[in-house]
């Protein structure tokens, strides 16, 4: 059977990839190990939220709640039961992932049911409220550690589970991709596109929506279970509203509905602030103001090119480069000029301190220049890329 051969090969390749990633990170970049684990978890979270938000179009902004439910359910069970059962650490972790997934999936049904009657902004408010309610409940339940948090150290030392984290991410991606590859994915998109019309075509809109919530939250729950074990400590503060918003940002920025977009946005948005955190460079305030102004100039230039300059691809790229160069020159000149204002020049700030400012600026710029997300509804593929480039050329032809 050719089919099963290919299937087996892809399993082996996926497993080899995640295991290789683990070994390489452990030996070559031990400092990055924890970050690589978190990045993998964010990929899972973004792709699973993309199923709910992007593919099915149910605007949910409480994804951190499912993450938290999975983490606490698995953490609590693990802490109390690991010692009294025969499974080894790896199998136990797999079981814990299932526990986290089941609990989060049940929560997904609870949130999915109101989504049958609410749409758009109203559903967003409900999911947001659900996330906060769950967090505050956990904060006040003493067996779960309350505000102090919960220790999850069933194995003594933290387990090396980068490979398991990324295996979950690959599984989540595979499930979403399979859904879109078969005709079973079409009802999900149909519900996003037009609920009334899809119902008239015989799509059971209620069960589609609840299914999306269940699958999406189950993956978030499994990710939570792995987070609890790899961090060995979780507290309600780990799952604040801003986590939900970061995941949502990843989905929107990558392009709602695009799996590859979510993956890339998850890695990028997780990496940028972490990378900036390591930049311990002091910059005078005048240069910061100059930099912000220069970015403003560059973005307005880009927007002008986007809207008014319909030349060939090479000319457009040239125009964009001119904007970048112009902005760089403006930055140098402005920082020189602004240095004459002593209040600005004497104030020195650390880049690491500014990381959230830079992060939000990147978001604003991307939303200004490409509001439909980097990949819009598309998936990244070389075919798609070449089509886009050819279409651009077609403007002048």
């Amino acid at each position: 059977m050719k089919f099963w051969g290919v299937r087996l090969l892809s399993f082996v390749l996926a497993f080899g990839f995640v295991y290789g990633l683990d070994v390489v990170t452990q030996t070559a970049f031990p400092n990055l190990y924890r970050l690589a684990v978190l990045a993998g978890l964010y990929v899972t979270l973004a792709v699973s939220l993309n199923l709910i938000n992007g593919i099915t179009g149910q605007f949910s902004i409480g994804h951190a709640a499912f993450y938290m439910i999975g983490a606490y359910a698995a953490g609590f069970v693990s802490q109390h039961m690991y010692a009294s059962q025969p499974l080894g650490p790896v199998l136990w972790l797999v079981v814990m992932m299932a526990v986290g997934a089941v609990f989060a999936a049940i929560a997904g049904i609870v949130v999915g049911l109101p989504s049958l009657r609410l749409r758009g902004d109203y559903l967003a408010i409900v999911t947001l409220g659900f996330g906060e309610i769950m967090r505050i409940v956990v904060q006040n339940v003493d067996p779960l550690g309350g505000a102090y948090g919960l220790n999850v150290k069933p194995f003594g030392e933290p387990p090396k589970i980068l490979w398991l984290v990324w295996l979950l991410a690959v599984l989540c991606i595979a499930v979403c991709r399979n859904l879109l590859k078969t005709s079973h994915g079409l009802p999900f998109i149909a519900v996003r596109e037009d609920e009334v019309a899809s119902a008239a075509m015989g799509v059971k809109t209620s069960s589609v929506k609840v299914t999306a919530f269940v699958i999406g939250s189950a993956f978030a729950g499994a990710a939570g279970a792995l987070l609890a074990h790899s961090e060995t400590f979780i507290s309600p503060d780990t799952f604040k509203m801003d986590v939900s918003f970061i995941i949502l940002t990843m989905v929107v920025l990558g392009g709602t509905g695009s799996i590859t977009g979510s993956i890339m946005a998850a890695v990028a948005l997780f990496a940028i602030p972490e990378w900036l955190r390591t930049m311990q460079v002091m910059i005078p305030g005048s240069s910061i103001v100059a930099g912000i102004l220069a970015v403003g100039i560059m973005v307005s230039g880009f927007r002008w090119v986007q809207n008014n300059y319909h030349e060939s691809v090479s000319k457009r790229i040239g125009a964009y480069l001119a904007c970048v160069v112009g902005a760089a020159v403006a930055a140098v000149v402005l920082s020189f000029v602004l240095a004459f204002i002593p209040q600005l020049a004497q104030q020195r700030l650390d880049v690491a301190m500014l990381r959230m400012v830079i992060f939000s600026m990147v978001l604003i710029i991307l939303m200004l220049l490409r509001p439909q997300g980097v990949f819009a509804h598309h998936e990244f593929s070389w075919d798609w890329l070449s089509k886009v480039l050819r279409a651009r050329k077609g403007v002048t032809a």
Binding site: F3, T182, S183, L186, R192, E193, A197, S198, M201, G202
Partner: protein
């Protein structure tokens, strides 16, 4: 041929104090080409919404092949064999033309979601079969050349035709067309007339359609039902309707 498909008996719906459809009764035989006409706001689309389950009738019975479907959910009614198009086109804009039709055909899927999520052979095979089926339908509807185009990018007339194709893909017994000729030019209207005839003659469907264009309806339908202010004012073959004083009054106003 004399098999009753759909019967409305005293169907009524009230929105607060407004009676949108009042005591409407008519019945469709298998293979009918039935027209539903009336001035603006007469309650024609509301009638469609009653039949397809968007609204629940306040009173009265809507009988489809011996089963009262009044108040069933729309998806259930679609499964039973009634499908519709919309007055203001409601395609799935981001999906391709072919995929739009597959959504209709998906009604008859047999594989489970779990099998699709694991990408198992049965669901792959089914996907292929449904796409093939949809493509054949597109060929019949003369849309196969634009199969991979995003449906939002289609010209207006083709969008209307795609809506009919999508409804046909559910393989309904009864197909409801809500103003299919709206906004079309004369040539497109003639094409549409022959398409609707083919739906009835070649596919054996029963057709119920709402239309404002009198020439279109009179030339196409064998029986016509006239609604005004939610009530029946006439029912019968086109010639009788054309000369009915009540109908003329409803459309042109009272004789002086």
């Amino acid at each position: 041929m004399n098999e009753t498909v759909l019967t409305l008996t005293n169907a009524t719906i009230r929105f607060g104090g407004l009676v949108a459809v009042n005591n409407v009764s008519f019945s469709l035989q298998k293979g009918d080409l039935f027209g539903l006409i009336g001035p603006n706001g007469a309650g024609k689309t509301t009638c469609f919404n009653l039949i397809t389950g968007v609204y629940r009738p306040t009173s009265g019975v809507i009988d489809f092949k011996g089963q009262n479907i009044g108040g069933l959910p729309p998806a259930k009614i679609a499964t039973l064999g009634i499908c519709r198009t919309f007055q203001n086109i409601r395609l799935f804009p981001a999906l391709s033309v072919l995929e739009n039709v597959v959504v209709g055909a998906f009604l008859r899927h047999t594989t489970s979601l779990a099998s699709a999520l694991c990408y198992l052979p049965p669901s792959i095979k089914e996907t292929r079969a449904l796409r093939q089926e949809a493509f054949e339908l597109l060929e019949v509807m003369d849309l196969s050349d634009v199969a991979s185009v995003r449906s939002a990018d289609l010209p207006y007339g083709k969008q209307r035709r795609l809506e009919i194709a999508r409804a046909m893909a559910t393989q309904p017994e009864l197909i409801l067309l809500d103003e299919p000729a709206a906004g079309m030019n004369q040539k497109e209207k003639e094409d549409l007339q022959s398409t609707v005839r083919r739906i009835r003659d070649d596919f054996g469907k029963t057709v119920l359609l709402i239309e404002h264009d009198m020439r279109f309806v009179m030339g196409l339908c064998e029986r016509i039902f006239v609604l005004d202010h939610g009530e029946e004012i006439a029912q019968g073959p086109p010639e009788a309707i054309r000369n009915d004083p009540k109908v003329i009054e409803a459309y042109l106003g009272e004789a002086v």
